[in-house]
């Protein structure tokens, strides 16, 4: 049963699903906001004590990750936190997909109808096959971004739970777009959102730059189809294209502003380099690239508890590429691609780094 929307958020297909998933949202809030600080506090204190007593020594200024894992793991709250976070994630995806599968025919028909109504804004190459590295079940989402035709709807409600209810009306995406840095000359005629998923930031970019031609690009056809149908429902004239961020198919120097939100830690480092080279190519001289991303730890920038959390997340929330990303010199690699790199405006979520990369004029 289609139970409609609350604002911009679709409702699960039964009240029982909705209640169950709202419980997960509240539980997740407790696990992340109240339980993880206990894990972190205990681990950091024990680590400091071990260093002070000489039982543990840093290597090249870094405490080895294996030692962080061992010391944090001594406290039973740690496996409890790990159990809870993994279980709530599995419960969330299982129930979200079950719920939207009940309404699969309607959802598929809705996307097909949108494709028929505005085909000029949906760009899917017949025969395009997502490469193997993109077909991971990122965040444990069943079928990932590429292999579940209902993936857009499942992702939309799943991430509503992930954000603990704080992005129900795209508030977070509104902030990403509001703080995106335009080129110094102010000219924004063409905008690209790479790794756009269901186009939440993409449509808001159109609101901010109403005269610009706005494109969202993602490797997942289910994401692109859902994004396109959703944008049409919202009356937003934006384009969505299925393509690789490292091979967009756009002309050189054709965009004024590019945005990426937590894309780079989901790809291997070599692909990160290729995506940066491609973004540099499609940006016009003087164009700007706003990047919101996971923290980097190549110079020991983040705390032991954050390293513990990122490592746990990588191994338990299907983030196969994030450890290499976090260890890489991200800013250095951006600069190697030719960009001028600067800090961008900070976000409310200070876990993320905000970077503005400018293609020299």
């Amino acid at each position: 049963m289609n139970r409609g929307m609350i604002g911009v958020t679709p409702r699960p297909t039964t009240l029982a699903d909705e209640s169950y998933l709202e419980f997960i949202t509240s539980f997740r809030r407790l696990a992340i906001q109240q339980m993880f600080p206990k894990v972190a506090e205990h681990g950091e204190i024990r680590l400091a004590q071990a260093m002070e007593s000489g039982a543990l020594e840093a290597e090249d200024g870094h405490v080895p990750l294996t030692e962080i894992q061992r010391i944090f793991g001594e406290n039973p709250v740690t496996p409890t936190f790990q159990r809870f976070v993994r279980t709530q994630q599995e419960m969330m995806w299982r129930r979200t997909r079950e719920s939207f599968l009940r309404d699969a025919d309607t959802l598929m028909a809705w996307m097909e109808e949108a494709a028929a109504k505005a085909p000029e804004r949906l760009h899917i190459e017949p025969g395009f096959t997502p490469p193997e590295y993109t077909r991971r079940e990122i965040h444990c989402q069943p079928g990932g971004y590429t292999d579940d035709p209902l993936g857009g709807a499942v992702y939309h409600y799943g991430t509503k739970v992930f954000y603990e209810g704080f992005n129900d009306q795209d508030e977070l995406h509104a902030e990403l777009v509001e703080r995106a840095t335009p080129p110094a000359d102010g000219k924004v005629a063409r905008v690209l959102d790479i790794g756009c998923s269901i186009g939440q930031a993409t449509t808001l970019l159109k609101d901010r730059f109403p005269d610009a031609e706005v494109w969202g690009l993602d490797v997942g056809e289910p994401m692109i189809r859902y994004a396109h149908a959703r944008a049409l429902d919202h009356g937003k004239e934006v384009h969505f294209k299925q393509a690789l961020a490292e091979d967009t198919g756009f002309e050189s120097d054709s965009f004024d502003l590019v945005l990426s939100y937590i894309v780079f830690h989901e790809v291997p480092v070599q692909k990160m380099r290729e995506i940066l080279a491609e973004t540099y190519r499609v940006l016009r001289p003087g164009g700007s690239f706003t990047i919101y991303e996971f923290p980097s730890n190549d110079k020991g920038q983040v705390s032991a508890s954050t390293r513990f959390l990122v490592d746990y997340d990588s191994r338990n929330n299907c983030e196969p590429y994030s450890p290499d990303f976090v260890a890489a010199d991200f800013r250095g690699i951006i600069a190697e691609a030719g960009f001028e790199v600067a800090d961008g405006p900070g976000l409310s979520n200070d876990f993320l780094q905000s970077i503005v990369a400018t293609k020299p004029a």
Partner: protein, 119 residues
């Protein structure tokens, strides 16, 4: 919308969340108990929530209870009230894990000895 969509939707998906899953404790029974506790709590909430809605809808309509429950759209005030109650349930059921997060109980971590077997 009578025609079947052109794209097939698989019934089941998800290698990551299928199978035996992950264990975090040496004794997997603890993992199982915690999973059961989570599902139990979700079920308790789900039933409680339905009664919440049932009562609200009955008060509003008094008829066609089942359909009316599914079609009910909560107001902002109702969402806030239900969220508060839900969080209270979460706190009640799982407060023990916050109350005794370490083997030595609730004493401040900084006051604990820095040596000795605390596992």
């Amino acid at each position: 919308m009578d025609d079947k969509p052109a794209i097939e939707v698989p019934e089941t998906l998800g290698e990551e969340i299928g199978g035996a899953g992950k264990a975090y404790f040496d004794d997997v029974v603890i993992d199982n108990i915690l999973d059961a506790l989570l599902e139990l709590s979700a079920a308790v909430w789900t039933y409680h929530d339905r009664v919440n809605v049932l009562e609200t809808v009955l008060a509003e309509k008094g008829i066609e209870v089942s359909d009316a429950i599914e079609a009910h759209v909560p107001s902002a005030e109702e969402i806030a009230r239900r969220e508060k109650e839900r969080m209270a349930l979460v706190d009640r059921v799982f407060g023990a894990f916050l109350r005794r997060p370490t083997p030595r109980g609730p004493a401040p971590l900084a006051q604990q000895p820095s040596t000795g077997d605390d596992t």
